[in-house]
């Protein structure tokens, strides 16, 4: 078996800043945009870019991710001698192989990567919303004859203080990496997307873990090591919609942006489709008492209430007299009658009883967690 470039999606993060929403599920499995989960973007980008061998590195609460990914067929990633492999920590003679950081997670999965003997590996994060052609970045990597190419997003100078910033020379070669610089010299923010020449990276990791084991994290440890050893390290600028949905506020914000007609992500563009696992659900049913405006609704929804500027995910039920405004309702939530939901995220399978209210503010989004029950039980439809 051999594949030129293999992708590793890091999907093990806890996403603790998403609070209740990631109490029992990993961040990449968090629902987004009505019918997606966050990892669908990375997986679909892989398929659309012709990257057909993908390892998904999981650690924190992987059940939902496993159930979602299955054999990868939903993303066309079920080819023979390729496809998706979900990688979880395991025990071995050397001890238990928990993942201590992004680079360490790759080190722990060297056996998997070597199974495919790739020349290059593409390291991705499973928690970003974006459409990106990795093949274009790969071509750039080869053209630059780089050992490492870092995907970067040009941001405003003010925002640069919040990111890991790559300072480059006139050939786009990275000469310095600064984590959240107080006085940024450049505006190229690292997206957590890397293409490595695999043999070189493998050597670095093997050397490190046979000695001090200090290469735990790509941003903190590996990039500085590459720079100090003068490895050819380049920055590849991505132009387009990219959102890290690491907090409740940014998750809500990204969903609201998703609702805007003509938003930059351009989800409906069929030349770069985003795929997801599909459940067998009936078409959405909008009843006589419903009003739906400035909103998105998907399969399996039953809508009898008033929906304004909100997203209803799969199989959501909304009772009569209920008003939902500026909210994101995750799959299988059941919302009773005469409920008020405003500036909120309602978690998967949550149940909101008749007459209850969930009211947040634009800068303080209310959250009802996964399977949480609010108010008295709703009559089963």
């Amino acid at each position: 078996m051999s594949t030129e470039m293999l992708a590793m999606i890091l999907a093990g993060g806890q996403g603790s800043r998403l609070g209740k929403l990631t109490k029992s599920t990993a961040k990449p499995a968090v629902p987004f945009g009505g019918r997606y989960r966050i990892i669908d973007f990375a997986l679909s980008n892989c398929f659309n870019s012709g990257v057909n061998t993908v390892g998904v590195v999981t650690q924190y609460q992987p059940l939902e991710l496993n159930a979602h990914i299955q054999n990868g067929a939903s993303w066309g990633l079920n080819e023979k001698n390729a496809g998706v492999t979900v990688l979880q920590p395991f025990a071995s003679r050397e001890g238990e192989k928990w993942f201590e950081g992004t680079a360490h997670a790759i080190y722990q999965n060297i056996a998997y990567i070597d199974l495919y003997a790739p020349k290059y590996i593409l390291v991705l994060s499973g928690d970003h919303i974006y459409k990106m052609d990795y093949e274009a970045m790969f071509n750039y990597h080869k053209a630059k004859n780089a050992a490492l190419t870092v995907g970067v997003l040009p941001v405003s100078m003010e925002e640069s203080t919040r990111f890991g910033i790559m300072n480059t020379d006139e050939t786009e070669r990275i000469i310095e990496f600064e984590e959240k610089p107080a006085h940024p010299k450049s505006n190229l923010a690292s997206m957590g997307i890397y293409i490595f020449n695999w043999p070189t990276l493998k050597k670095y990791l093997m050397d490190s873990y046979s000695t001090d084991g200090n290469l735990e994290d790509f941003g903190k440890d590996v990039i500085p090591a590459y720079l100090s050893h003068n490895e050819a390290t380049y920055a590849y600028a991505f132009h387009g919609y990219w959102k890290d949905v690491g907090t409740i506020q940014s998750l809500w914000q990204a969903n609201m942006e998703f609702l805007e007609p003509n938003n930059e992500l351009d989800i409906a563009n069929r030349d770069w489709r985003i795929y997801s696992r599909n459940d067998a659900l009936p078409p959405m049913y909008v009843t006589r008492s419903a009003r739906v405006n400035n909103s998105m609704v998907v399969d399996g929804c039953y809508v009898a209430g008033d929906i304004e500027h909100s997203i209803l995910s799969q199989n959501v039920r909304v009772g009569e007299g209920t008003v939902i405004r500026d909210a994101m309702i995750m799959p299988n939530a059941v919302i009773g009658k005469d409920v008020v939901i405003d500036h909120a995220i309602i978690g998967e399978r949550a149940i909101i009883g008749d007459g209850a209210s969930v009211i947040g503010k634009p800068d303080d989004i209310a959250v009802v967690g996964y399977q949480e029950v609010l108010g008295k039980a709703v009559e089963k439809r």
Partner: protein, 391 residues
């Protein structure tokens, strides 16, 4: 659990002239229904929900839409290592006076039945909309006296046509024969008739025997006729199905069945029960409802863009309804576009129909206006191409 004891047969060769132009390029089995399904999803979902793994599918003359929809059968768990979907091609000449063709017809059935290695066979009509528990039918069959069971649904006599098949059921609950609805008197209390559903269950060995006997006869006799005769010979057990049922045999019936899904009880019974209806996945984006949209008692597929009014209608995937447009009591199949300020009432648009702005297209509940696939409608004059008026 061991492999299923039942195999299934679906024959997609069903007369479809009454549904022209909707059936011009597709059999009744792949007619789109209720915003996201095709008719064949219903028998195939019955099959999937009963754990059946062997399906013999007899292809119609125009089988492209069937192949495209069914593919490997994975949607219905029919891509497992044993069993699966076995398709039998349409015999192009269809001249069954030719003994070779005739033998081929019977051999196709015999090959499938013998290879299935199952004890029971269920035959399901390809123009049914239903959600049957076939395991329950099997139990009923095992408890019955007759070696063959057939299904019926009590329907209001007023909703049937005199030439449709119905069952003549004795006081003892046996079917003496299959007759037409016109031959029966409706039940005095319920005004209903026991309508034949074209669904049969029997031992595979018995069916093999029946097909073999038929192949030795002078006259050509097709499987539905073989089964019909067996019902009379054996006084078949009659299983009463009580869920939602429609036998799609005309444009009006097709239209009414779609409208029936806008009654919550029907939608729940057919589409939202414990037995799911499975259909091919499309990965559409969510449907967007604009500021100006007004949607009332309607079913919608995903990928839509709704800026106008939609009332009592079934709107399939990827439809675009422009500002000021009004859709009332209509069925819009996948990918239709309706221009600004255009009004549709009692209209069926086949896939991909584009209707220009400022038009008024109006049929009646009895005779909905039908526009055929990919038609471009730029005037509301009666002579519009693609439009079919029912007589």
């Amino acid at each position: 659990m061991r492999q299923s004891d039942i195999c299934a047969i679906i024959d997609l060769n069903v007369p479809s002239e009454a549904l022209e132009p909707l059936t011009q390029y597709r059999p009744i089995g792949t007619l789109p229904f209720a915003g996201r399904y095709r008719l064949i999803d219903f028998p195939l979902s019955d099959i999937a929900n009963a754990g059946i793994r062997d399906v013999g599918m007899y292809m119609p003359a125009s089988s492209r839409s069937v192949q495209d929809h069914v593919r490997s059968g994975s949607t219905w768990n029919l891509d497992t290592i044993t069993g699966g979907i076995f398709t039998f091609p349409y015999v192009a000449t269809k001249n069954y006076n030719n003994p070779l063709n005739r033998q081929r017809y019977y051999d196709d059935y015999l090959t499938f039945l013998k290879k299935s290695n199952t004890r029971f066979t269920v035959i399901i009509s390809a123009r049914n909309i239903e959600n049957i528990n076939l395991q329950e039918v099997l139990q009923f069959h095992l408890e019955g006296n007759a070696p063959i069971t057939t299904l019926y649904k009590r329907q209001l006599a007023s909703g049937t046509t005199p030439d449709e098949d119905a069952l003549k059921i004795s006081a003892a609950g046996e079917v003496s024969n299959i007759v037409t609805a016109g031959d029966l008197t409706p039940d005095a209390k319920t005004h209903t008739l026991p309508m034949a559903m074209g669904v049969y269950m029997l031992r595979t060995s018995l069916l093999i025997e029946m097909v073999q006997n038929a192949s030795e006869q002078e006259d050509f006799i097709r499987l539905p006729k073989i089964l019909e005769e067996a019902v009379s010979v054996y006084n078949a057990n009659a299983y009463e199905y009580t869920g939602f049922y429609a036998n799609i045999n005309s444009i009006k019936r097709y239209f009414d069945a779609n409208m029936a899904m806008l009654e919550e009880a029907n939608y729940q019974a057919l589409l939202y029960s414990q037995r799911h209806i499975f259909t091919k996945n499309k990965n559409e984006v969510p449907t967007f409802f604009s500021d100006a949209s007004e949607v009332n008692n309607s079913l919608l597929g995903t990928g839509g863009w709704i800026e106008g009014k939609v009332n009592e209608s079934v709107i399939f995937r990827r439809s675009r309804i422009a500002k000021g447009a009004e859709i009332d009591h209509s069925v819009l199949m996948q990918g239709c576009k309706v221009g600004e300020n255009t009004k549709l009432r009692y209209v069926i648009l086949d896939k991909g129909v584009v209707v220009g702005p400022n038009l008024t297209l109006e049929g009646t509940p009895e005779e909905p206006l039908v526009y055929s696939k990919n038609a471009i409608v730029e005037t509301d004059a009666k002579t519009e191409e693609g439009r079919v008026e029912l007589q």
